[in-house]
C-alpha cells in the first residue's frame, strides 16, 4: 500500500505519523514540500485518504480538491470538522475513534467536576506557592450527592453517569429523544434540565442543532450555585455569555476542556478561582492516543484491503 497517498491534515501524534509513513505515501498538510496550489496540482490525484482530527478535518473545499478521495479517517470521535453530507454524496467512507476514548473523556469530566467543587487546582497552587504557612484556605463544596444533569446520553454521557452514580449523585439527562432502558430522569428541554441539576455536563455531538445549546437561558437556569462542565466542543456554549455569567457571579463555576476558538481562551477566565481550564485533553493519554491511532490505521488498512471497516460512521 506504499503508493497510496494519505493526507494528514495537521500534527496529531508522532506514533500515528510514523505508522502512516511506514504503510502509505504520507503527505503532511502542515509541512508541504511546495506551495499549496503546486502541491495539489502534483499530488491531488494520488491522495485516496485523509486523516483529520478535531482541529482540522475534511471540509467541502478539501474534499472537492481530492478527486480520488475514498476515505476520511478521523483521529477523534467528534465529526463536526467533517462535511458528512459531501462525503455521503461522493460515496466517501468516514471512520472515527469511538469507544477507545470513552473512559478518558468521562474520567476527565469527573476530574473537572471534583477540581472545580473541591478547588483542587486552587489548593495545589496555594500550597506550592508557600502560602499555607500563613493560614488555611476557605471551605469548598461537596461533590458526592450533588445532582448531575447530562446533555447527551451516548457512550460518553453514559460513562459519566456510571461514574457519578458511585458518588451517590442523582442523574438526569437531556437528549433529542428519551432513551429506553435507563433509570435516569429525562428532560425534553435543556433549560428544565439545567434548572433541576447542580452540575450540568455537555456530552453530546456538535451539530447545527446543538450549536450554542448552552446559552444565556440555560446558564441562568443553572444559576449562581450551578457548575457547567464542557467536555464536548467549544461551540456547544455561547462563550461570551458564559464569561459574563461567571464574572458577574450568575454562574457558580465551570470546568472547561474546550473553547470556541482554541487555543485562545477568554482572558477574563484566567483570573477566576471557580473555573478549571484544560487544553482539550479529553482523550490525551498515552494509552488512548495509541489506541486511537491504531484504530485509524486499522480502518485505513481494512478499507484498502476491501475488508469491513472497524468503526465506520453511518
Amino acid at each position: 500500500m506504499n503508493n497510496i497517498g494519505v493526507l494528514m491534515t495537521c500534527p496529531m501524534l508522532e506514533y500515528l505519523e510514523k505508522q502512516l509513513e511506514a504503510r502509505f505515501k504520507l503527505f503532511k498538510a502542515w509541512n508541504l514540500s511546495s506551495s499549496k496550489p503546486d502541491f495539489f496540482k502534483k499530488h491531488s490525484n494520488s491522495i485516496k485518504a485523509v486523516v483529520g482530527d478535531t482541529t482540522v478535518g475534511a471540509d467541502a473545499a478539501l474534499i472537492d480538491s481530492l478527486p480520488n478521495l475514498e476515505i476520511v479517517a478521523s483521529y477523534s470521535v467528534g465529526l463536526d470538522k467533517i462535511d458528512l453530507e459531501k462525503c455521503k454524496e461522493k460515496g466517501i467512507n468516514v471512520t472515527n475513534t469511538p469507544d477507545v476514548l470513552t473512559d478518558d473523556v468521562a474520567d476527565l469530566c469527573i476530574g473537572l467536576a471534583l477540581a472545580v467543587l473541591r478547588k483542587i487546582c486552587v489548593c495545589d497552587q496555594f500550597v506550592k506557592s508557600g502560602n499555607w504557612i500563613n493560614g488555611d484556605l476557605g471551605l469548598a463544596s461537596k461533590f458526592s450527592g450533588k445532582s448531575v444533569g447530562i446533555v447527551g446520553l451516548g457512550r460518553i454521557g453514559s460513562a459519566i453517569a456510571k461514574r457519578s452514580e458511585a458518588f451517590n449523585c442523582h442523574i438526569s439527562y437531556h437528549s433529542r429523544s428519551e432513551k429506553p432502558n435507563t433509570n435516569y430522569k429525562y428532560y425534553s428541554n435543556i433549560v428544565d434540565l439545567a434548572a433541576n441539576c447542580q452540575i450540568l455536563i455537555v456530552a453530546c455531538a456538535l451539530t447545527e442543532e446543538t450549536h450554542h445549546i448552552v446559552n444565556r437561558k440555560v446558564i441562568d437556569a443553572l444559576g449562581p450555585k450551578g457548575i457547567l462542565i464542557n467536555i464536548g466542543r467549544g461551540a456547544h456554549v455561547d462563550e461570551p455569555e458564559l464569561v459574563s455569567a461567571l464574572l458577574e457571579g450568575r454562574l457558580g463555576g465551570a470546568g472547561l476542556d474546550v473553547f470556541e476558538n482554541e487555543p485562545d481562551v477568554p482572558e477574563e477566565l484566567l483570573a477566576l478561582e471557580n473555573v478549571v481550564l484544560v487544553p482539550h485533553v479529553g482523550s490525551d493519554t498515552e494509552e488512548t492516543s495509541k489506541a486511537m491511532a491504531d484504530l485509524v490505521i486499522s480502518n485505513l488498512e481494512a478499507h484498502f484491503k476491501g475488508e469491513a471497516l472497524l468503526t465506520p460512521v453511518t
Binding site: 474520567d107 473541591r118 487546582c121 481550564l277
Partner: protein, 313 residues
Amino acid sequence: MESIGVLMACPMNSYLEQQLDKRFKLYRFWTVPDKSSFLASHKDSIQAVVGNAGAGADAELIEALPKLEIVASFSVGLDKIDLAKCKEKGIRVTNTPDVLTEDVADLAIGLMLAVLRKLCESDRYVRSGKWKKGDYVLTTKFTGKKVGIIGLGRIGMAIAKRAEAFSCPISYYTRTEKPDIKYKYYPSVVELAAHCDILVVACPLTKETHHIINREVIDALGPKGVLINIGRGPHVDEPELVSALVERRLGGAGLDVFENEPYVPEELFGLDNVVLLPHVGSGTVETRQAMADLVIGNLEAHFQKKPLLTPVV
C-alpha cells in the same frame, strides 16, 4: 449549660465556635498568652475539650484538667488524643465519623485524577498562555488502573466503591483479612504496593501504622506507581517520599497531609507529577457544618446524660 467550661484546642470552624459560645463557657486555648497558668487557674471549670486533627488532648493536658469529662474531636482521626489515658480516667471521647466519609473519598479520587491526568499542571498551562504555542503533553489514563487501599474502614470502602466505577481492580491491606469482601487481600503493605498502580493510605494513625509507607513500600510501588495520602502525614516517611519523587523512583503522589503541617517539603513544589493540598479532606461547607453539629450534639448529649451520638471511648 452556660456555666460548663469547654476548652477549644485551636481555631477550627467559626460556626462551631459560635455554637459553643452560645451554649457553654468557651475558652479559646490559642488566644491564651500563658497556657500553663491559664490551666492552673481554670482547671476546675473545664469539663470538656474540643480538639481536631491538629491539636487534641494529650496526657499532659488531660492531667491538667481534673474535671475533664469528655473530649469531643472535630475529626474522625483520634491520633491527637491519648485514648489510653481517657479510658483510665473514665473520660468520654467522641469523633465525627460518617459525615466526612464521602468528602474524604471524593478527594482521594480527585487526587488520583489530578495526578494521573495532570489537571492542575494543564490548568496552569492554559492560564500561562502556553497553549497558544503548542499542545500539552500526553498524560496517563486512570480507568482500569489497579488501586490498592491500606485500611478498609468507612473511608477505604467509599474509595473502593468510587474507584470500581472507573473499572479499577481493587486490592487492600488491613491487619487481618476482612470476611465477605470481594476485593483481593494482601497480607503486607509491600506486597500490596508491588501489585497495584495507585496506593492509597486510608487507615487510622497508630503506633503500628506510623511510617507504614517506608522506603521498601515506595520501591515496591515503583517509577510508574502513584501514592495517595488522605490519612495522616506520619503514615509516610516523608524524606524517603521526597527523594523517591525527586529521583523519579516513584511515579507520582497526591498528598493532603504532611508530617509537619502546614510545612510542606519545598522540593515537591516544582514537580509536575505531584498534587499538594492543605489538609482539606473534609473541608467543604456542608461537611464541616455536619461535623460541628455532631460535636455539639455529642457535648449536649453528654451533659444532659443522654447516650453519646458517636462515642469512641
